[in-house]
């Protein structure tokens, strides 16, 4: 840990020197000050400053590759602040940081991110992707949770909201939001992932966000579905139920009761607060470990039955054409997958020590192991897994690596508690065929050039 700290600091200073302090005289003075601090105090400062000016896509030890408009703007702001800092420190003559010169902001009702934290989702017409490369740990801030919807985000009045449960039940019942909240509650931290979470249209310029930003993780709270089913008296012959949303697509999926009843819930809270509208406010189905669209959002109707309903989203969509000409249906469970989120395109790395970071997850249970290769898959090392490793949850992995400056590829693969090993693209293709479209979880990697530039390893996932 100590070693990592110093290295990060050095990398941070180097980054400042090469990218920030080359501009303007005030800045050069600032750089001189930074160099003269020395010792542990100086080291700590450098890290803090690094954090302050950090661009969204950078982690503390890897720099963005190309300086776009956004970065220039941010730099200009940062440099302005640095100049002010320097001036006032001189004026006060006490060596205090500007932030310590006067009483700060008083407590308020609603917090906000530091203006320097500019991480954003990447929206398209039908979805928006989580900026995985910017996140730490395993919880996705609710406003960065990925979105996927079929007819936009509906506006639902929570006071008018009712969930209707009918079909093969003894007592067809409606539940208001308050009534759902009155039941015994349960919380669960798990990932959600869209069935179509594999983007590589940008080739070697694919970011982690484009590659697999349709997965996110939250702590969800709600009422267990089993509690609700007991309440309405689900009949013994009921084996499936239809879940329907109240969006403009009245999105529906059929769910097999036996496979989900132990863990399913009707969630009304996400990371401690009510669901976000785009996550199904005021209530959604939550099926841990299963493809995202089965966790129907804006849930307003459950119909119990003795067979599946064969809706569009489980026949023409979200099914898997296979190499043998058959089509796999109801492929609910998400197979194990991992992705290195840092470094990733468009980062640049420098020779020396740094930490390879990423997330791994499996819809079948816990991640048992994540292996990382720093030589394009010739040899593998076990990455460190951040405890606690939760079932059906994003698991943070890390591997400390000293890069010698030669071109290579860094690759990760996940192994879950069933012994499933995240497959190579070619193995998936062999089974699924050329036109496979959903549920893709191949091993992926990032090429590192001798110049330190990081690019997506597109060859690895190209036929």
């Amino acid at each position: 840990m100590q070693r990592g700290w110093v290295v990060l600091t050095q990398a941070g200073l180097d980054w400042h020197r090469s990218h920030l302090f080359e501009r303007g005289s005030a800045v050069n003075r600032r750089a001189a000050a930074a160099r003269s601090w020395g010792g542990s105090r100086g080291a700590r400062r450098a890290v803090v400053k690094e954090t302050t000016v950090r661009r969204p896509r950078n982690s503390s030890h890897v720099a963005a590759r190309d300086g776009g408009v956004t970065r220039r703007t941010l730099l200009a702001n940062t440099l302005g602040a640095a100049a002010v800092t320097l001036t006032s420190r001189r004026a006060s003559g006490q060596g205090r940081p500007e932030s310590a010169a006067r009483f700060g902001r008083l407590p308020n009702e609603l917090g906000a991110r530091s203006p320097a934290e500019q991480s954003k989702r990447l929206p398209s017409a039908i979805s928006s992707r989580t900026p995985l490369q910017d996140l730490h740990g395993t919880i996705t801030p609710a406003d960065l949770h990925f979105e996927r919807h079929h007819a936009g985000v509906p506006a639902i009045d929570p006071r008018a909201y009712r969930l209707v449960v009918h079909g093969m039940v003894d007592r067809p019942t409606t539940f208001s939001l308050d009534e759902l909240r009155r039941f015994p509650s349960s919380s669960r931290t798990c990932f959600l992932e869209c069935s179509g979470n594999f983007g590589r249209q940008s080739g070697e310029r694919t970011t982690a966000q484009e590659l697999c930003g349709l997965t996110s993780q939250s702590e969800w709270t709600g009422v267990r579905l089993s509690t609700l089913f007991r309440e309405v008296g689900v009949m013994a012959q009921a084996t499936w139920f239809l879940a329907e949303g109240q969006d403009a697509a009245l999105m529906t999926r059929s769910i097999p009761i036996r496979d989900i009843l132990d863990e399913a819930m009707i969630a009304y809270a996400q990371n401690g607060e009510g669901l976000r509208p785009e996550q199904g406010y005021p209530a959604r189905l939550l099926l841990p470990g299963m493809e995202g669209n089965a966790s129907v959002k804006w849930l307003h109707r459950l119909e119990l039955a003795d067979q599946p309903f064969m809706t569009r989203e489980e026949t023409s969509k979200y099914t898997d054409p296979l190499a043998d000409g058959s089509t796999r249906q109801f492929s609910f469970v998400i197979d194990a997958r991992s992705v290195i989120t840092s470094p990733s395109y468009p980062h640049t790395v420098q020779p020396g020590w740094f930490e390879i970071r990423g997330i791994a997850w499996s819809g079948r249970g816990r991640i048992q192991k994540v292996e990382v290769s720093t030589n394009g898959g010739r040899t593998w090392a076990a990455a460190e897994l951040q405890a606690p490793v939760l079932p059906k949850a994003h698991t943070r992995f890390r591997l400390l690596w000293r890069w010698d400056g030669t071109a290579t590829e860094i690759v990760s693969r996940a192994i879950d508690e069933t012994g499933y090993v995240q497959p190579e693209w070619k193995a998936l293709q062999t089974v699924r065929g050329r036109r496979t479209r959903y549920h893709l979880n191949p091993v992926t990697g990032w090429r590192i050039g001798a110049d330190g530039r990081v690019l997506f390893g597109i060859e690895r996932v190209t036929t």
Binding site: T252, R312, P321, G325
Partner: protein, 194 residues
């Protein structure tokens, strides 16, 4: 002293027991769902035809509905555009994937996944059109309009004759080319890649 402790401990035990009541089978939360409300919301259609409303339509009638409501996004002949293709079943009777298809394709451009070559149930088409189409005004088509436009899409795909009347009796009997290609998920974790 010992007796005092026993009394204190006993008191705590009593409190603990009082607090930890066993939960009931039912809580009695929620209201009985009125029949009318269920009837209003329960619009899903199953493969056996359950849920299909009265009404009817043919491809001929459907052509007008399609031109007015669907063609702008799905193309004048259902070939696709801003929205996905609905028509296309080349090569006849084969999936747009798999060994037979790959053999047929040899150099030809890929065929899209359509109602004609991928959808297993005609009832799903009715359910989905009534549920979600057209995107700007879902739920505005009459039952006759939906039967008609479904008939048009099926006829374009050469699954039913142009003059065939689609209604609650006939639609569930339409056998889709992809009907028997669907298999249940057999993945179970472990070493095998599936």
């Amino acid at each position: 002293m010992t007796r005092l402790l026993t009394v204190v401990a006993g008191t705590f035990t009593a409190i603990a027991v009082a607090v930890a009541q066993s939960p009931p089978q039912r809580f009695g939360f929620g209201e009985p769902a009125p029949r009318e409300l269920i009837a209003q919301l329960d619009t899903d259609v199953r493969p056996d035809g359950t849920g299909l409303p009265p009404g009817k339509g043919t491809a001929l009638e459907g052509e007008k509905v399609y031109a007015r409501q669907c063609a702008a996004c799905h193309g004048t002949k259902g070939e696709g555009g801003q929205a996905e293709a609905l028509v296309g079943a080349e090569p006849t009777g084969t999936a747009p994937f798999g060994p037979q298809y790959e053999q047929w394709r040899s150099g030809r451009p890929d065929v899209p996944f359509t109602v004609g070559n991928y959808w297993p149930y005609a009832t799903t088409l009715f359910d989905y059109v009534r549920r979600a189409m057209p995107p700007a005004a879902p739920g505005t088509l009459s039952s006759d309009d939906v039967y008609s436009v479904v008939a048009w899409v099926l006829a374009q795909n050469r699954i039913i004759p142009e003059g065939a009347v689609m209604n609650a009796e006939t639609l569930p009997r339409v056998v889709m080319p992809a009907r028997d290609r669907f298999v249940p998920d057999s993945r179970k974790g472990g070493r095998e890649v599936k």
